[in-house]
């Protein structure tokens, strides 16, 4: 009998010890524009050393996977424990975990103080939850291939130059250097919304619901279609796809196929890494329209998923990653603009790049963040922004392909937006 009890006790102790040693596994869904995947893997390794009871598996996937597959997982009540999200930060906000119950009061105060001004971008309207933090603040803007401009003998248009002036200058470079096109804008409604604001466009009605497509919006769309028809905008990016498929013009810029790219600050590390010293490039902010020279602020956020089975461990991980020291290191190594109020206020970031193109580019994007118009500032926290973006990209591509006219597209965009709102409201 004594032998049996001893054996049972031993088994319990050994079993308990084994259970205690089993770390909790957390899965983080991540995508990379540049080198941030490697930086995050490095940081997570350090986190695991400091927290041996937590194992974090980094699933580094293509952006399209986060954009198209994660929402489906979330809608069916599944998903990773933590995810890096960009375009669906607001529209999928109901799936994020409120970290407050798992943080101390002191920690909550830290989060509010340093990330509070942009938490509305990632939580349902009227909520005061803390679902995560922006890993970086982004600003939509352009890049010019300075070497191609120089070789063509064309001066880079200066501060305050309009879209027409930039496109005309790039067209001269295209003619002179034999590039495939003058410029490209990433294929997404998000990227053209800053320029649309610059031409007086407004998406948001007085009741907070989508407003009908207005003349300001049509003004920039008309230009975009005309530039495409004239062979100035690279057709591979917008015309050669249907629906809302995302396509970037970055690779064409990197391969010197276009002298001008309109994308955003998140490309800085990507361009620096892939272009190297092949040619000089500069960030140009956003060209001007009739009402201003607006880009669009945005960001990628790291959010906790409410379907996690380990909310306490997720909160520990998130709090560690959101700490000032880690955010500072992440920003310096990835060349991303930090969204941490304390770091921005303190300044003194030492971006880790020997590329001489990088510091002025980052400075230009910081400057551009002060040039955005009110409509552009409102979009990141507006619930229906994606409905607008989707309709814009789908229909404008059809106009560019010659399938419908701009007037028909205007009516169809209004209808698409109304349908999306109606379906999402059911």
């Amino acid at each position: 009998m004594r032998k049996t009890i001893s054996l049972a006790a031993l088994t319990a102790v050994l079993g308990g010890a084994a259970l205690a040693q089993d770390p909790v596994e957390l899965r983080m869904l991540w995508y990379s524009d540049g080198v941030e995947g490697e930086v995050m893997a490095d940081l997570l390794e350090r986190f695991e050393e400091e927290n041996p009871d937590i194992d974090v598996v980094l699933d580094n996937v293509a952006y399209q996977v986060v954009q198209e597959q994660l929402p489906i997982q979330l809608a069916s009540g599944q998903g990773p424990d933590v995810a890096r999200v960009a375009s669906t930060l607001k529209s999928d906000a109901q799936h994020w975990l409120d970290l407050r119950p798992y943080l101390t009061d002191e920690q909550v105060a830290y989060w509010q103080e340093n990330f509070g001004n942009r938490l509305d971008w990632m939580r349902p309207d009227g909520s005061d939850a803390i679902p995560g933090f922006l890993t970086q603040l982004t600003m939509v803007g352009g890049f010019a291939n300075a070497t191609l401009f120089e070789q063509a003998g064309v001066d880079l248009p200066g501060e305050g130059a309009t879209w027409d002036e930039w496109v005309a200058a790039s067209a001269e470079v295209m003619e002179s250097q034999g590039t495939a096109a003058a410029f490209a804008i990433d294929r997404t409604g998000h990227r053209i919304s800053g320029p649309i604001a610059s031409y007086g466009g407004n998406y948001i009605g007085e009741d907070g619901m989508p407003a009908p497509i207005d003349d300001g919006t049509m003004a920039f769309l008309t230009k975009l279609v005309e530039w495409t028809d004239a062979g100035l905008m690279l057709p591979e990016v917008w015309v050669s796809a249907a629906g809302t498929t995302y396509r970037s013009g970055a690779d064409d810029f990197i391969n010197a196929q276009i002298p001008l790219l309109y994308s955003g600050s998140w490309q800085v590390a990507n361009l620096s890494t892939k272009i190297g010293d092949a040619f000089d490039w500069v960030a140009i902010g956003s060209p001007c329209g009739t009402e201003g020279c607006s880009g669009l602020a945005g960001g990628a956020g790291l959010v906790a998923i409410r379907y996690t089975e380990h909310p306490e461990e997720v909160a520990r991980l998130m709090d560690w990653l959101a700490s000032e020291e880690i955010v500072r290191e992440f920003s310096e190594r990835t060349l991303f603009l930090p969204a941490h109020a304390g770091i921005v206020e303190a300044g003194g970031l030492t971006f880790q790049s020997e590329d001489p193109n990088v510091p002025p580019a980052l400075d230009r994007f910081v400057q551009a963040s002060g040039e955005t118009l009110p409509m552009a500032d409102a979009l990141p926290a507006w619930k229906w922004a994606n409905a607008y973006y989707g309709a814009l990209v789908t229909r404008v591509s059809q106009v560019m392909a010659g399938e419908i006219t701009l007037d028909e597209a205007r009516g169809l965009m209004d209808r698409d937006i109304a349908d999306a709102v109606e379906n999402a409201s059911q």
Binding site: P71, A75, A241, G390, M400, N423
Partner: protein, 336 residues
Amino acid sequence: MGTIRHRTGAVLAAPLVLLARLVDVPMRALQRRTGQGGMAAAFLLPNMAIFGVFVLVPLALNVVYSTTAGTDILLADRTYVGGQQYARLLECQDYARPITCREDQFWTAARNTGVFVVLQVTTMVVVSLITALILNREIRGRGFFRAVFFFPVLLSPVVVGLIWRWILQRQGLLNLIMVNLGLEPEVWLNDRTYAFGAAIGVSVWAHMGFYTLILLAGLQAIPKDLYEAAQMDGTGPARVFRRITLPLLMPNLAVVLVLALIRGVQIFDEVYVLTGGGPGTSTMFLTQYIYETGFASVLRNPGLAAAASILMGLVLVVLTLAQLWLSRRAEGRGVR
């Protein structure tokens, strides 16, 4: 030596014999209870259960989803709307002009799919038949060519799409060759006609090996003496093909037609990678419309996508039945 082998065989077979005897007992009991007809059902049951779980249940779920609205996936979170999604898909002023339809992209995709199926299936059957006829002849390196034609079937559709995208893009292999020959390069995938042609060509290239194999098997099953008799009668090759080969190959051709038709209507992966549905919506087919509507769009509409897939399924059923009826009629005529 023979005795040792016999004993080794018996030892190795023993577990199988034991297993067979163990199974035999309940099987006999079952047969006594259900009769011979019941035994057939019992043997079919596992297969039918898998079919039910992976085909019938999703099909039924799809029907249910098509009567609901909302962006949520869980049925409990969705709103019942009856036939509203079907009504929305079918609402149209002029079906020949998709722009006048409530869901213009659905009708554009349906029209594209119809044209694609007619052109692709015709090309597929003709090319596969010609290839099979050639590979059935006593040519040098026949085995090698059979392998070459079958090889693309083994490739993943995504790989097929990417390979051809690299060939056809602005700075692709084809343009490189054209420039070296002193010709003007083309942006193949930005032109509606070329892109549609590329979609047909690539899908035929990717799948013809499979259909060729089916037709080749049919050709080899035709008795040689029929050809010998025709030769002795002095019948010409065209007449031999029309009167012997084609009628006797009809069952295989019917299979090829039905399979190619179904595959044609379902076309998605390689074309999606190759053209993304563009330029504009000129190579957007029904499956891509369903995927975009139900999954890819940020503000997705699974109910509408489900309704579209049910309509597509109905069209497939009708087409398959029509094909079967036609091929059976043709088969019934036999050799004349």
